[in-house]
Symmetry: C2
């Protein structure tokens, strides 16, 4: 029932990782978590999650909308934003604040507050749990006598792959 739809993703490292596995794991975990939590991963929500997972790039809401429309004629902005709200609440995706965009979360079951390494060249986002950073951060926040609700740690730059490509090719 997890749509076959292998398809024509042209993400940059087709050769380097089994993206179908990424997707099926993400969807499988999401389904499990929702059952456990007693919340509904409806067809719309599942579809949006699947669209987000088509790549490891951050995706814009209206880009998702454009991609959803052919599949669901009734899709409107609210359709997307509601699905995104749900997926974020459930920790299944990250909102990338510095891009107003969204990306799948690999570790939705464990934790959701991670470092995001955002490549300005290929747009891919790498999550890192970075325990040392989080530890130092907790210390700092405690010193400031601040009560945390949420964290956004977003690093922009160039990923290893792109750095290599540009130094090699130029």
């Amino acid at each position: 029932m997890n749509t076959p739809a292998e398809a024509n993703h042209n993400h940059s490292h087709t050769s380097e990782h089994d993206h179908n596995k990424c997707v099926s794991e993400a969807l499988g975990t999401a389904a499990q978590l929702c059952v456990v939590r007693g919340v509904q991963l409806t067809p719309i929500r599942q579809q949006v999650l699947e669209l987000i997972w088509e790549s490891h790039k951050a995706v814009k809401a209206y880009e998702l909308l454009d991609r959803l429309k052919p599949l669901m004629d009734a899709a409107k902005p609210a359709t997307i934003y509601r699905a995104l709200d749900f997926l974020i609440e459930q920790g299944l995706i990250h909102r990338v604040e510095s891009l107003n965009a969204f990306v799948g979360c690999n570790s939705s079951a464990h934790q959701h507050e991670q470092l995001l390494l955002i490549c300005n060249n290929c747009q891919e986002v790498e999550e890192r749990s970075a325990p040392e950073v989080m530890q130092a951060l907790s210390q700092e926040i405690k010193q400031a006598d601040f009560t945390v609700h949420s964290k956004a740690i977003e690093i922009h730059g160039v990923c290893a792959k792109c750095a290599e490509m540009t130094t090699t090719q130029s």
Copy 2:
């Protein structure tokens, strides 16, 4: 020449710090830095910086626009966004990515990449240089073989002052 305009800011800790000093220091430093760098802190830019410094809260672009209009009749969105672009380039303000808003930077002369503690209750933003965090972050980023261009580290929650108020008052 640094407008006297003491005025009716109703920021939350009038009694606790000399805000006029904050403002005059910020404007003074900005003026110096711009001279040194050979860039122009024009009247518009200075005015916008001053408006941002009216409080320690993050301010929205269109809110600034509304406040600028009475002072400069020609003000339009582009007026504000251009001034903001300049101030950000010069490190004189921070863009708060998670709020699409802006706040003065206290340490424009030294460094610009800081931790922002954003109070969801009073909207005030505290900058912290957090050297241990930054150190751990550099390590982590190096391990990921990632080349940094910029960092946004934004923590949302409740500041000490607001936490005290709510526990005391309720």
